[in-house]
């Protein structure tokens, strides 16, 4: 157990508080960045997948080969996480291939054409953001990708967890190191106090630690020597004091 000297109590509380504020601020900045970057990255990936499907299946669509088209989107599906969906609409906004089971959600089958990124809530399936990309500038239809926001949240939480642990451990190490350093700084003062009390009580000061204190080149050494001087001035006959 590390004992905190009264002199440095407020100092150590201040250091801990400072570390806390720094750690908290750091965590906020980092986690916000993670949230922003991962959300953006997931959306960009979804857009890239939608674009890849749209660009690479033009011939298949023109050949009306819907089974190959279905096969292609089935291959892409694992890239969308555990609860992602893909659907493709033709130029009349009719769904011609999709990955929904057991049926196309009403929110989608009854919706107007969409573009860009929108947010959707599908009954019984959850909250999604939907990314769309046109096929042949829209005249061939659109590819739509649905990403489960829970999946994104889990991804973000996972990444945040990875960041929070190192931050928490760093914070704890910093506190322990702060306490140790403060104690290290406080030790000569405690020795000085011990020496001064011994001088005042006219007890023996012939101890190795006092010897070390008296030869120190810092303020603690100066004060010890000053106390020794005062002790000799007060009692020139006092024995056991080897003036430095």
């Amino acid at each position: 157990m590390i004992k905190i000297t009264r002199l440095f109590q407020w100092t150590i509380f201040g250091v801990i508080g400072l570390f806390g504020v720094l750690g908290f601020a750091n965590a906020i900045v980092t986690l916000t960045a993670i949230d922003r970057d991962l959300t953006r990255e997931t959306r960009e990936n979804s857009q890239n997948i939608a674009k890849a499907i749209a660009d690479s299946n033009v011939d298949i669509l023109l050949n009306n080969d819907l089974s190959t088209l279905q096969s292609r989107i089935d291959q892409m599906l694992p890239l969308l996480g555990s609860n992602g969906y893909i659907y493709i609409t033709d130029e009349h906004n009719e769904i011609i291939a999709h990955t929904f089971v057991p049926n196309i959600p009403e929110e989608i089958s009854s919706s107007e054409p969409t573009g860009g990124i929108i947010e959707r809530t599908l009954k019984g399936k959850g909250d999604f953001f939907e990314v769309s990309h046109p096929i042949l500038a829209g005249v061939g239809g659109n590819v739509h990708i649905l990403i489960d926001q829970d999946d994104v949240s889990l991804l973000i939480q996972g990444a945040m967890g990875n960041q929070v642990w190192p931050l928490a451990i760093t914070f704890l190490i910093a506190i322990v190191l702060g306490l140790l350093l403060v104690n290290l700084a406080a030790r000569p003062i405690q020795q000085l106090l011990h020496y001064a009390v011994a001088l005042a009580k006219k007890e023996s000061v012939d101890e190795p630690q006092n010897e070390k204190l008296l030869v120190r080149k810092d303020e603690a050494g100066d004060l010890a020597r000053l106390y020794q001087y005062f002790a000799l001035v007060a009692d020139p006959n006092r024995s056991g004091i080897d003036a430095k």
Partner: protein, 454 residues
């Protein structure tokens, strides 16, 4: 596995593997503890006849075809029955000395009706096993993914023969030139079903389909057929490939209950389609429920029959399209031959690719095995026309010499550059007295469905 022990010719894969291994006396000695003397003797005799080297799947004594199909999982009945039908014919050919002195053997892999294993298996068949051609694949999601491999290896002239799927990708560009089909397409099957339903006044057609390339292919066929009558689908629902019979499909049934279709076309495999039929009838959705040939009619009916005291309650709503005639129609020469060979050769399930953990009882006769039988018959004809020095390069030309070939089913087969599908006819069947019989009168059948529902 409740299957009969494979006989001499029904287990070519193990035999082929053993031929390679058996050259080593050590292997023979090690194996002697486990194998019977008769089996060992058989292997040895095979080894003696297989010393010649294979070039592109052909040796002096054998032609090897490669197959990746569902031999395990919920759709294993399709792969097993298709294989059994083909082996019934190949065994007979081989027992008579093969084609131009070469036995026809199959190198088998199980893909469980899953695309990724099918792609891996096909790569092995092409690169490692170097088979002569691909034969008897099962399923649209698998075949659709395999087709690009044929294009990739087009310099080696691999072709895919008679896959058990009616989907479009292997019937049209860009992959059409790499495959030959015997069966009618799903477009033809769904077109025929929709046409007949509409003709008898059942214009509100719903579609229940597997959420993959197969389902989409059938869905597209229904949509196209309905569009010809200015109609649209009335309800659609999907299920995940690999769904077992034990699964509940009540959500899908509920979805249809809202739309109240007059008929439902199912694009699926037997386990899920049987589950849907069960839940539909139980849930009050009592309309004709049609299935395509791929479903595996006997497997579907067996699931319903085995699990209900009164299976007619469910089967009376079944109407299945087929791409081969009834196996009970012994007036057809080809069916007679099938009947005879299935009895004589009694092909068993391929034990080397099936799983001991999955019980499967083979069918004496089935539409799927009849299709496998016809596939093998036509494949043998192609090998005969290829002559004594078969090469992959010459296969296409040999196939194109087939004009008005009679397979003995009342419909001739022809191939040319623009026609790579042999048969076009679709047959319709309903269940009577526990088995599938031809459906000849749709009006009467429709009245029967209405009566049953009321």
């Amino acid at each position: 596995m409740k299957t009969k022990k494979t006989d001499r010719f029904s287990n070519p894969t193990r035999r082929t593997i053993v031929k390679g291994l058996a050259a080593s006396p050590l292997v023979l000695a090690l194996g002697a503890n486990k194998l019977g003397a008769q089996e060992l003797s058989q292997m040895s005799s095979n080894t003696q006849s297989s010393n010649s080297e294979f070039v592109n799947g052909v040796s002096d004594s054998q032609i090897v075809l490669g197959t990746s199909a569902a031999f395990t999982g919920p759709s294993r009945g399709l792969g097993i029955e298709l294989y059994r039908g083909a082996m019934a014919y190949f065994q007979d050919v081989n027992s008579k000395g093969g084609v131009h002195g070469r036995e026809i053997t199959l190198k088998l892999y199980d893909d469980g009706y899953q695309p990724d294993p099918a792609v891996n298996n096909t790569t092995k068949l092409m690169r490692d096993d170097k088979v002569f051609a691909l034969f008897g694949y099962v399923g649209t999601p698998t075949v659709t993914r395999v087709l690009p491999l044929l294009k990739k290896f087009q310099d080696e002239n691999f072709l895919l023969f008679f896959p058990f799927t009616g989907a479009q990708p292997q019937r049209q560009l860009p992959y059409g030139p790499f495959a030959f089909n015997l069966r009618a397409s799903y477009r033809q099957e769904t077109g025929g079903l929709v046409e007949n339903f509409v003709r008898v006044g059942r214009e509100k057609v719903g579609v229940f389909y597997q959420a993959d390339a197969y389902g989409r292919s059938g869905w597209a066929g229904c949509r196209e057929a309905l569009a010809k009558h200015n109609l649209k689908m009335v309800g659609e629902a999907t299920y995940t490939r690999g769904t077992q019979y034990t699964a509940s499909l009540k959500d899908q049934v509920e979805w249809f209950m809202r739309d109240k279709p007059d008929a439902i076309v199912c694009i699926g495999a037997y386990a899920a389609c049987a589950a849907f039929l069960r839940d539909a009838v139980d849930g009050g959705l009592q309309v004709p429920i049609a299935n395509l040939s791929f479903v595996g009619s006997e497997n579907l009916l067996k699931l319903i029959t085995d699990t209900h005291d009164n299976p007619e309650q469910y089967s009376q709503f079944l109407v299945n399209s087929q791409v081969v005639p009834s196996y009970n129609d012994l007036s057809l020469e080809g069916v007679q031959l099938y009947d005879e060979f299935m009895t004589k050769n009694a092909p068993s399930a391929p034990s080397e690719v099936t799983s001991d953990d999955e019980e499967y009882k083979t069918f004496d006769r089935s539409f799927v095995s009849l299709e496998g039988f016809l596939n093998a018959k036509l494949m043998t004809e192609i090998f005969t026309r290829l002559g004594p020095e078969p090469t992959r390069e010459g296969v296409e030309e040999a196939v194109f010499t087939i004009q008005d070939l009679d397979l003995g089913i009342g419909e001739t087969v022809s191939f040319n550059e623009d026609r790579r599908q042999g048969l076009d006819r679709v047959y319709y069947t309903i269940v009577e007295n526990g088995s599938f019989v031809p459906l000849n009168d749709w009006t009467a059948a429709s009245n029967g469905w209405t009566e049953a529902a009321s």
